[in-house]
């Protein structure tokens, strides 16, 4: 087993989202989750917010 830390509870900081564009309901900067290396919908956690400035001509 990995150390204790793997069994931590995860608390979502709902009022402090990573992306400051939360108020812009039509923000479409970052990738659609399934459009990714894994070609699976289970990839939201692996994305970054592109509205904050992360920008690249590469999708991956």
């Amino acid at each position: 087993m990995l150390p204790e830390v793997t069994r931590m509870r995860i608390k979502i900081i709902a009022k402090k989202p990573a992306c400051s564009n939360i108020d812009d309901e039509n923000c479409r900067e970052c990738q659609t989750p399934c459009k990714s290396a894994a070609k699976t919908a289970n990839t939201i956690s692996n994305q970054i917010c592109e509205a904050k400035g992360a920008n690249s001509p590469w999708i991956l």
């Binding site: 009022k15 399934c34 290396a37 919908a41």
Partner: protein, 409 residues
């Protein structure tokens, strides 16, 4: 991220189970919990906004129903027999529709199949058109292509480099593991045929590519596969569990302890590489909790039918590539595209709050309810989470968070 000791972990568990934090006796624990509540860090509720307008952003262009391989687990095996290719004209119509209707600046396109290199002229037509047309609409189009690499020529690679086409290269591990399911049309193994092309990509690109593998019951010790490929010089890796009902391929609950061990073994290897400066990217361990998706995104589901759509060679539009040929899920055609009503339906369906079992799960904001195609295949309902997928996702997330905590210093 809050790292909890055992005492705090037990306390938070009781609160999750219904203990009223205001009933806690005076002391350090009560102060900590009430402080976190007042800061909105725990037990906060947010009404996540949903998109109000037509919102296509990403297209999967299924440019080929034909393939030059015959992998035994292929979801398009029936379609492969039909072998239709998308015409360049259809691809251009699809791109024009996407660029015209996407509300945002960035739009994304993945060329998919079958095997998309078999429709190379269509891929080029779509890219060449989009580059020019997007300028007139002030849009940016980014491309990717999912390929088995068998027919990937130097000319294709040059074109992909020039046009920033990211590559998702299918390979299930070293020779023995890969060749269990990934075979050529005549049944011969594929590893020796595809590896040289994959290594070309690995050697010429720093980014813009991943090797994407699938592991199944027969190749459950997938950490060995990932590590073996990494030691061959393949630094960008993503491995996914198979979604199947086939005996000998599909996972059962008895496999979960083994899968947990595999992710933990891989996590240790990954951290060791990172700490010693050895380049490696394992897609599912690449988390950034500081710069991750916003709450709206995290609750918005996989995007299928809402901002992500797939177009097949016959110009039909589907919620995603996995619904291709599922007649009941056809959303329209390029000549008769989905309406606002269709978008509304999928935006609501695919939102976290619309899924029956997700809102109370700790992992829900990381997976956003998972893959609706897997839900349908395994549970018979796009809103019922695929249970085995949930178990594996949580294990993977725990490993990824452990990696994050180990490396964040």
């Amino acid at each position: 991220m809050l790292l909890l000791d055992s005492e705090a972990h037990d306390l938070f568990t009781k609160i999750e189970e219904g203990l009223d934090p205001f009933s806690l006796p005076p002391g350090e624990a009560r102060e900590m919990v009430l402080g976190l509540i007042s800061e909105g860090i725990i037990l906060s509720k947010v009404d996540y906004p949903r998109p109000q307008k037509l919102s296509p952003k990403s297209l999967c262009l299924i440019v080929s129903h034909a393939c030059n391989m015959a992998c035994t687990y292929c979801s398009l095996s029936k379609a492969t027999v039909e072998g239709k290719l998308m015409s360049p004209e259809t691809a251009i119509r699809a791109m024009k529709w996407l660029i015209d209707n996407a509300p945002g600046i960035k739009v994304d396109v993945d060329f998919f199949g079958g095997e998309p290199t078999l429709a190379w002229n269509t891929v080029k037509a779509a890219v060449d058109f989009s580059k020019e047309y997007s300028k007139t609409k002030n849009k940016t189009v980014r491309f990717s292509m999912s390929t088995n690499a068998l027919g990937l020529t130097d000319e294709m690679l040059d074109y992909c480099d020039e046009n920033y086409i990211s590559l998702i290269l299918s390979l299930d591990g070293p020779k023995a593991e890969n060749d269990r399911c990934r075979v050529l049309k005549d049944g011969r193994p594929s590893f020796d045929a595809v590896l040289p092309n994959i290594m070309k990509v690995a050697q010429r690109r720093q980014r813009g590519w991943y090797v994407r593998g699938t592991y199944s019951k027969g190749t459950i010790n997938f950490s060995d596969s990932v590590i073996a490929l990494h030691k061959m010089g393949i630094n960008n890796l993503a491995f996914e569990p198979v979604v199947s009902n086939v005996s000998g391929v599909a996972f059962s609950k008895e496999d979960i302890p083994v899968i947990r061990e595999e992710y933990e073994k891989l996590a240790r290897y990954y951290v060791e590489c990172k700490k010693t400066g050895v380049p490696i990217k394992f897609y599912h361990f690449e988390m950034d909790l500081e710069n991750g998706p916003c709450a709206r995104k995290s609750a918005g589901g996989c995007g299928a039918g809402a901002e992500y759509l797939a177009v097949s060679p016959d110009e039909k539009i589907w919620p995603c590539h996995q619904f291709d040929t599922e007649k009941d899920f056809c959303l329209g055609t390029l000549g008769d595209p989905p309406t606002q009503t269709v978008y509304d339906k999928y935006t609501i369906k695919n939102h976290l709050t619309g899924k029956r079992e997700c809102p109370d799960c700790w992992a829900s904001y990381f997976c956003s309810g998972g893959c609706i195609a897997s839900n349908k295949l395994q549970e018979g309902d796009i809103l019922l989470p695929y249970k085995m997928g949930c178990l594996i996702q949580k294990i993977r997330l725990e490993a990824a968070l452990w990696v994050y905590s180990e490396l964040r210093e």
